[in-house]
Structures are given as C-alpha cells and as structure tokens.
Amino acid sequence: MAAGASLAADAPAKAAAVSQVLYSLSTRCSIEGAAPKTCVVEVVDEGSATLYRHRIGAVTMTVRITDKPVRMERWNGAKKTWQPLKEAAARFSTNTICFNGRDLCVVNPNYLNSVRQDRPDATAGRDLVMVRFDGTGRVNLTCYDDGCKGVKS
C-alpha cells in the first residue's frame, strides 16, 4: 500500500444482503511504520468475507479477508479493485496484526481473540504468526515465532 493511500470508504461497501456490522473498535493504527495514530476499525461480515475498514484521520484502508482458503486483499481505490496482499503477520501478545509488512499495522484484540478461539490447535503456544501469499492470493508459507526469523521480507 502506498503511503497515505486513501481507499474510498464507500467503494468496498457494496455489501451483500447478509452484511452485518460485527463491531467498531477504537484503537491505534500505524501506516508504513510511522508513529501510531488513533483509528477506528469497522468490521463487517459480508457472508463469505469479512471487511476491515481502518479509518485513520481522513484515510481509510480496507482489507477483505476470506477463509477456506484464507485470502487477504486490500481495496485499491484508484483502480477500484481488490488486490491480493503479499503478507500478513500477527503478534498475539501485543494484539497487533500487520498487512503487507508494515504498510498497515493495527491493534485489534478482537480479530486475534476470534482467531485464537477458532484455531486453538494451530495457535496454541504461538505468539508470532506470519503468512505469505502467492500471486493468486493463496497462502504459500506459514511460519511461527522463531521460525519466522529465517524468512526474508
């Protein structure tokens, strides 16, 4: 994501009929490694995908996550398309999830609580989890904790 990328807040809101706001979270976000700023994350369940709208001041960055298999995409407001992410990482102990390296990092305990509870076997005893996506958006690498040290960004 480019610095300060402004993703149209309403573009990806073309919601399905089953769209439901799960929660709105007041938290802190960081764009491209910059100092954290207050932000609000609005999370919408669209039936087959979950939208995460991160509103940081005038900037809105939207990430769409599907599962079975897991895919993560960002909304490109200029091109009006969803673009697959290259990488996502989460650190449970700090409630942090980052998308595409440090392009967007957010404190979101709700997401991690949901993941932890839904994936107890895969996440038990884990702190750092990172996934890489191939060009089609499929996961092609998962690493945990010290195992991620050998993974080049």
């Binding site: 799960l22 929660y23 709105s24 979270l25 007041s26 938290t27 802190r28 976000c29 960081s30 100092a35 954290p36 700023k37 999370v43 369940d45 995908a49 979950t50 995460y52 996550i65 599907t66 599962d67 298999p69 897991v70 993560m72 996502a88 990482a89 989460a90 650190r91 449970f92 102990s93 700090t94 409630n95 942090t96 980052c98 440090r102 990092c105 957010v106 404190v107 305990p109 709700n110 991690l112 609580n113 949901s114 993941v115 932890r116 509870q117 839904d118 994936r119 107890p120 076997d121 895969a122 996440t123 038990a124 005893g125 702190d127 750092l128 989890v129 996934v131 996961v139 998962t142 945990y144």
Partner: protein, 234 residues
C-alpha cells in the same frame, strides 16, 4: 484427582503440516467475552509486531506444548502441587461438563486481550470485604495471593498450554479461560475440585462466592483468583 499431565494427549500435538495456512481466519466468529469496542493499548502505545512479551525465551514449562482441547468430566493435570486431599465443595455448586477452555483472550497478552472494558478489582482489601476481618482471624490468615502471583500463574499456564492454574495455597484448579464478567462486579468461572468441574459466580465487590461468604480460606483464595483474572491489573 491425579496431577502431572493427565488429560493431555501429546500424540495429538499439531504437526503443522496439515494446518499450514489455517493459522488465520476471517475473524467473524464471536469469541468468549464478546467484541471489544475499545482496544487496551497497553505499554506499547500502538501496534508492535516485533517485540512480544514472550520474546526472550519465556516459553513453555518443561517443553509441555501439548494440545489443549475440551475434556469433559475429567481433570486437567498441571504437574503442580496438589496433595490429593479432598477440597471443600459447597452444596450449591453446580457441576458442569464440556467447558470451553479455549477462550480467545486466554493467550499471550491476556491482560490486554480481555475484551470487556468494564470492571475493576483492587484485591480483597480495596474495598475491604465486609466479612474479611472476622473470618480471616478465625482462619489464621492475613493476606491472599497477590495479583503478581496469580498473573504469573496464568502467564505460565498459557505458555505451557495448560488450561488451569492451581489457586495458590489450595487444591482448587481454576479454568482461567472460563472466566467471564457479568456486569462490572460479578464474574462467572469454572473451578475443578475433587475430579469434578463446577460453574460458580463471584461478587468481587462484596466478596461473595455463589452469593455466599467464603466458608474456608481456600474459597477466599478462589474468589480472589477469579476476580484478579477477570478484573485485576495484568
């Protein structure tokens, strides 16, 4: 009740291969305790992907990375102290099975992961429980376990993938992941005693357990531990 690891099936430990790519989901499943609307930022001031509290090797207790699932009607061993003596169980304690021990917040960073934004607990003396002075004089105790002791017990249990903590100086085992607030003063939780599990409530403000004053010092410790896990600083 047997201690020392009973209840874990190490042969079922995840290989990793079958679960690659399943570490994340789309985050739409409502976790125990519900959705928070205000994140507890903690000491980092914002997102922090590099330095977790568990960096530096504070991982696991003796390599116990077994799998924790639901184990109805059974005991969670923990390799910790319990001398096998029967512990007190009140008549109004309701036995339960199929307890969910995989609460999403019960993980590294649990103190800031707790999704509820209400509730406060300053210990048995702040404000003082009405029964404290008379009862504890009879029991011959002056304090209960500190927040630090309880927090460390939870940290260590999480690192060891153990769903219970031994309530300090008692034979009770608290399934810490079962702890949930009910409003700002009450907490519900499950305790394991004498081989059974019981669903209880605690009033952290009044110092009551299932609506009654604790009958023993052990029950006071249990009350204190549940309130600390739910509402205490961590």
């Amino acid at each position: 009740m047997g201690g020392g690891g009973g209840g874990f099936d190490r042969s079922r430990a995840p290989s990793g291969f079958s679960q690659g790519g399943n570490s994340f989901n789309r985050g739409n499943t409502r976790p125990s305790g519900g959705w928070s609307n205000r994140a507890n930022i903690g000491n980092n001031g914002g997102p922090n992907i590099n330095g977790g509290r568990f960096d530096g090797g504070n991982r696991g207790q003796g390599g116990n990375w077994g799998q924790a699932g639901n184990r109805p009607n059974g005991n969670w061993g923990n390799g910790n102290r319990f001398n096998g003596n029967t512990v007190n169980v009140n008549r109004n304690w309701n036995r339960v099975t199929n307890v969910n021990v995989n609460a999403g917040w019960a993980r590294p960073g649990w103190g800031v992961a707790r999704p509820w934004n209400a509730g406060w607990y300053g210990g048995w003396s702040s404000p003082p429980w009405g029964w404290w002075a008379a009862r504890t004089a009879a029991w011959g105790i002056t304090t209960l376990a500190t927040a630090s002791i309880i927090n460390n017990a939870v940290d260590n249990a999480i690192a060891a993938n153990n769903p219970v903590i031994v309530v300090p100086d008692t034979g009770y085992q608290l399934l810490y992941g079962s702890v949930q607030p009910v409003g700002t003063n009450l907490v519900s939780f499950v305790v394991q005693a004498n081989g059974s599990q019981y669903q209880l409530t605690a009033d952290c403000q009044q110092g009551l357990i299932n609506g009654q004053q604790p009958q023993t010092a052990d029950q006071a410790q249990l009350l204190n531990a549940a309130c600390q896990v739910a509402f205490g600083s961590a």
